[in-house]
Symmetry: C2
Subunit: 407 residues, 2 copies
């Protein structure tokens, strides 16, 4: 008998009909002879309803009190799922985070899991019971309820799988796996059988938001095999694996993209130590997240400093920097909020220097002008004009033959 | 410094405005130098909303799962009240039943409190914090959440007051105390300064439903002084006391009544041992609650057996008994669902045999025919035709001069 941790999100818990679909997935696994521990999120919309209650009451609710309030969302979910399973004669026991016990630090609202007690759950599993655990929540040392922050149920599932030494942690969503790119944009996009953790991290941060990044990092750290599947459609999903050896042999695994970018360039700024900090310091202080940062080697005493931000932060960031251009002795400040980022991702590219040139050549052949380039070990990102988004993604998907499964 | 336990029900927790009123009551007590532990119910309507979720999911939810679901109602309340107090700078800590710990037996849905751990709460109170506790819930030996059944928050408050050896347990409601009778029926009805536990038990079971009966029994058992007050109006309320000595000297404390009665008589049944059981057995098996039971001394070998049930159960009970009339050898089955019960209650009547005759005489003077009589140590109840309800209540209220406070 193998042990599975199955995690279902808010959409899956959103109605009696979809909860029945969850029951189907759980009983399928159980009928196949697996031990099953289930982690559930709050019903979709529930967290917002509770937040509204809080904000109707006070202007600035304290995180400690919000955690007590919000954690009721998953408690409702575990109760409903336990009822539905029990009605089918499935022996079941539900657990809040505190009941498990899932111990966290005391950073209310975004706590980190320190330790999970597994004795009771293991006894339930041994006795043939399905265990239903509230995601997103835990308890700190002095017994106060904590939450892991939005989307934290994925993290609960992975941590529980690690603690139970589960054979697989299955994250059920409304998509049936991770694709080589967005199937709504490229019809030949193919579901990946496997993807590495590193690739998944790059995919997730680039907009293919199937999983919470933190849960993927967590899974990597504890070497928990993760699988992404659909609650509503049958299929094997995508296995996110930490084993490099058994990987698909493709150089590139997927093409990710991000529509909501804007770029800003400080032109002709004196090339002195500390200039990057002078530019980015105030931006960080204003809580604006910076994505790509590029500064070219300069051949004079002046340089151009370019970075990208979320499109929503573009106007505020420009307004923040404009008064400082003169102080910094820079020539100009220019920006563009009609750009997108396209990235090719694959662990295979590590050992293949030719990937970048193949990528740039393919884009050039289609007349797509590259505005910025940034690379990492397993990723090459380019910034192009917004109008080239679809053409760029399709071109790269074709060029790297991602529609064909590797042998 | 004295210690108060204050309990607020669903109506008091029903909106941000009424929660502000709760905050006012708590801070008033705190500003007066009292230590305050607060017990709250779920927001009005919340329990029904949760039950609807359950019944949309399955036809017959199991009590164990319902407890997990329903206990979220009070958890939402403690979070909201804690937020509201904290916003005013009041140091506060909230507790679910499990966090307290309030240990119960494992009768899910109607559990009984076994024990309350007070160490943490006492430490909070000593540190000057207000403690906010979820009513209605506890935890059984193996860590599962239990509920005390509807209205159980009163019981939580009394049990907590007993465990903390509080000076008073204050039950806040939407009425400002216990009255000599319903003020909507008799405008001269007077709020009682004090009432004994025994009187309160009789008043509660007779329809003056201010408090849960179980909580009053509990308060009597542990000698916790209870006070009923209004959340929304200032005033001293009514003290429910276990001290006989300091009682008001009135013979009668109040006139209670119950509109929803029906009476059923098995006429001319053989006066043999076991006949009461033969009549009432099937009724009890059908879960119909029987209130008054009267069987007169018979002078022949036949007797008449009369009892009352809730008006809603009248038709079913008649249908249940009709086929059995012949089997029992009874002459007839007759009933009336247009009757009401009026009761005079007072510990003072114990030593005054004349009360009953004064009562019957007053009713006779108004031409009110008494259909049934039943008496206990501190109560005399009569059943009369429905049309005499208001006249009967007013007549008795006047006769015993309940509009005048005793000296």
């Amino acid at each position: 008998m193998s042990l599975l941790v199955q995690k279902f999100g808010g959409t899956s818990m959103g109605s009696p009909e979809s909860i029945k679909q969850v029951v189907k997935r759980v009983t399928q696994a159980r009928d196949a002879g697996h031990g099953v521990a289930v982690v559930v999120s709050a019903m979709s919309g529930e967290t917002n309803r509770l937040l509204e209650l809080a904000h109707n009451m006070v202007t600035a609710p304290v995180a400690e009190d919000l955690d007590v309030l919000l954690s009721t969302g998953e408690q409702v979910s575990i109760a409903l799922l336990a009822m539905a399973l029990r009605e089918l004669g499935v022996p079941v026991r539900s657990y809040t985070g505190a009941q498990v016990t899932i111990r966290t630090d005391n950073t209310h609202g975004k706590a980190r899991i320190l330790d999970i007690e597994t004795d009771n759950i293991e006894a339930d599993l041994t006795a043939g019971r399905v265990v239903v655990v509230a995601g997103f929540q835990g308890v700190e040392e002095s017994g106060r309820i904590t939450t892991l922050g939005r989307g934290g149920s994925d993290t609960t599932a992975v941590a529980l799988a690690a603690a139970l030494k589960a054979d697989e942690c299955q994250i059920f969503t409304d998509v049936d796996g991770v694709y080589t790119t967005d199937p709504r944009m490229v019809s030949s996009a193919r579901r990946l059988e496997r993807i590495t953790f590193e690739e998944m991290l790059e995919m997730a941060s680039l907009g293919a938001r199937v999983l919470q990044i933190r849960s993927v990092e967590f899974a990597g750290k504890y070497q928990v095999p993760l699988r992404v599947l659909s609650t509503f459609e049958d299929g094997p999903g995508t296995l996110i694996s930490f084993e490099d050896s058994a990987m698909e042999q493709a150089l590139i695994s997927g093409i990710a993209f991000n529509r909501d970018e804007a770029k800003i360039t400080v032109v002709g700024v004196p090339d002195q130590p500390g200039i990057a900090h002078r530019i980015l310091g105030p931006i960080a202080a204003a809580n604006v997240e910076v994505d790509m940062i590029i500064q070219n080697v300069s051949e004079s005493d002046l340089t151009d400093f370019t970075f990208t931000v979320h499109r929503n932060d573009y106007a505020a960031t420009m307004a923040l920097l404009r008064p400082q251009v003169r102080e910094m002795g820079a020539r100009d400040l220019v920006g563009d909020d009609r750009i997108v980022k396209i990235s090719a991702i694959g662990v295979g590219m590590r050992s293949h220097a030719g990937i970048a040139s193949t990528m740039f050549e393919a884009l050039a052949r289609e007349g797509i002008n590259i505005r910025m380039i940034s690379t990492s070990e397993i990723k090459i990102s380019v910034v192009v004009d917004e109008k080239y988004l679809e053409l760029g993604v399709r071109t790269l998907h074709d060029t790297f033959q991602l529609d064909i499964a590797p042998e």
